[in-house]
Amino acid sequence: MSRIERIEPAGQALSPETVATTVSGRPIALLYKANGPGGPGPANGGQANGSQASPDQAHGDEEPGQYPFKRGVHASMYRGRLWTMRQFAGFGTPRQTNERFQFLLEKGQTGLSTAFDLPTLMGLDSDNPRAAGEVGRLGVALDTLDDMLALFDGINLEQVSVSMTINAPAIVVMAFYLAAAQERGFEWGRLRGTIQNDILKEFHAQNEFVFPPEPSVRLVCDVIEFCARHVPQWNPVSISGYHIREAGSTAAQELAFTLADGFHYVERCLARGVAVDDFAPRLSFFFNAHNDLFEEAAKYRAARVVWAEAMRNDYGAKNEASWKLRCHAQTAGCSLQDKQPELNLIRVAYQALAAVLGGCQSLHTNSMDEALSLPSEHAVTLALRTQQVLAYETGVTNTVDPLGGSYFVEALTNELRADAATYFNRIATAGGMVAAIDAGFFRREIADAAFAYQREVDAKRKLIVGVNAFVEPDEKPLEVRTEGDQVEKDQIAALRATRKQADKTEIERCLQEVRRAAATNENLVEIIVEAARARASVEQIMNALADVFGRYQARIA
């Protein structure tokens, strides 16, 4: 008797319910044929319907690198350029994260991605009482320009592309980065990278907002507009479905809400008179790569088509680059388990495969120990190696969009496009983006989906290996990182040292200028760069903005 049979009686695992739907609860037919599902099976004749092809498909949208880019944004895809292997990193003080960056670059990583700690994400300095216990824990602590200089010390910012995951205070952190680059003699025009700067999904899912929705979106657009003029190789926003999915949404909700967020930014930029082709080519996206291999791959394909059609037909973009949805992907953190954690390596590998079959431009693979603690160096290395095996050993990079033309994947792609259109209508009916946020529409939809999934897991209609099936009775714990409390003390000491040296009158003058400009329509980026140079802290600048904008209460369920 094999070990698996001993743990779980054979035949119990694959009940009919477990295979009839995707992870998102989408019904799946036993067999798909040229015109959609055609085989025998309980789901046949259900929602799955392959006949929803748009006129574009009738013309045969078979060419990658061409409108509507279903098969990929580049004609030669990974043969021409491999995806960027970009592992998210950041913890402790800026010095410590700088060391991790140097380590990752040595291991062959091709771009940097910065995680900030919760106080920074919420616009608080390290010595704010609310920051107690959180400084440097989930990411690197950042208080002043001196921290930004330490973070990228010794790294050539014109050669390495840098991603920064920050939202409510994105305009402040971007200003710090620009000030740091300038101080080190790098030209803004040569900086490459991405700032997440996507506040809408914070209201839907991740809860790291500070100001009300409308001024928050204004700040997003200030960064988009400023970068279009002065930092042309920079992606000023990464419109993110990742966190929506992590909060428990379905694949269709992730797709629809993310694109709706993107459309809202486009409309706000157009409303302030920026020409669509001046900013749209630099809009970038960030999607989740979850467990359901084919639905995930289809989601990326559907996203490209929906975006391209809207940009060309609804927003009048003429530049082909404005039609292309370029995206970063990250494997699903919420799929990681603390039981038999080595299995997470395998989950991550399949998820990474889904993202690559979907045609992503860059990828982060999670570490196997992330359901237990912050990742160890060993786990981070294995995660990066997973991508390298995928890229160099499996052959999936050899041809463009290998799933194209699969009856199943094309049907899924069409279904997801139709689902997105349905959600766009529901958002419009709710009064548009801001009214739908205020009414809790997105949060309710996502929470309903999260609860429905948990019930499926609890009832074992969805199986998770090691958790509700194939459980190991006596597991050995994995070695994980342990955190000390020294970081908080060190960071607060550094902040106080910077404060002591700074010219308080100059800081106050800069903050007054921030308040003045915030009350007008003036673009705030350069004004905040000025404040950064004076060593105003993240919290000081955020408070100055809150004086004008107010704060959004977290009084939402």
Binding site: G133, Q206, L336, D338, A371, A447, T482
Partner: protein, 372 residues
Amino acid sequence: MDNSTPERIVLAKIGLDGHDRGVKVVARGLRDAGFHVIYAGIWQSPEAVVRAVLDEDADWLGLSLLSGAHRTLVPRVLGLLQSAGLGDVRVLVGGIIPEQDVAELKQFGVAEVFGPGTTIEAIGQFLHARHTRSADRHKAGAPEGDRHRLSRLISAAARGESPDAGRDLPGARARVIAVTGGGGVGKSTLIGQLIEIIREAGRSVAVLACDPRSPITGGALLGDRIRMPSRPDDDDLFIRSLATPSGHSGVAPHLDQMIDLFGRFGYGTVIVETVGAGQGDTAIRQVADVVVVLVQPETGDELQWEKAGQLEIADIVVVHKADLPRAESVESQVRELLNLPGCRPVPVVRVSSSKGIGVPELWAAIQERLGS
């Protein structure tokens, strides 16, 4: 445990971490398992959490953290519970907690730690297996401190016990404002705004937020306090969530006794939040000095008749979410319905809580009605 009084659990996220998927799933799951779940929301300080436990007279506290700040924040909560005389409230922690920290948290006094992959069923079973504690607690003598005592007496009143409790205390009758209207119309948010005005005027206020419980499981998910201001150091504000029996009036039984208790403990105003429902409307009329009925712009053109029925009991009608399109048309429909011959005059106020419009006007109308 008496089946008619399910255990109460406060769930909260402490610190800055906003990852609330898990806690929201647990909240719904425990509701379905028959608990009365009070969800206090994200970004809670240890002080605010302990205040919620005290005011809600909770048997359990569930803290959710995925940020790694548990070693700092959880001991703070436990210390504050002790010094508030709430050391008997059992504390659960959920989230990403490394194995070696689990033992430490338990040493501090945490009853159990639930990590990723925990089923709702497992949490429910854990709670059910240990329910005897709260039955003992309810039998125990009166706690130290007025607020704690009031909280216990409110619970006893809600259970229909000791109807004469607190009668020995002096104290005036509180003025009662009922705020009623359908689900999603924004009652709690508006009450949050009224609380700010009442407290700015230096007056004390208590809130009884009623939500229906499941007719099948008896469980309830009570999330109204999220939308009200959290002021852990303000002794003149008291917020209690109540699950109302299904099929009843939308009003908790023994409401009059609870209102009486608040008056005796010095609260000048009591706001009762209820879902307006048929016959319940008359029940609320009997205890309230002023009834404020909320309506909101609908997607359809016509005001629904079921809502129109609620207008009969209104002393004041609020057209809420007045910043939305169609607010004006709803207002004129309401005015038309109210201005039938022989009807008493009912003020109609347009309010947008999110934009802060119309709240002072509403407060003025309420005060006029109360004759103060």
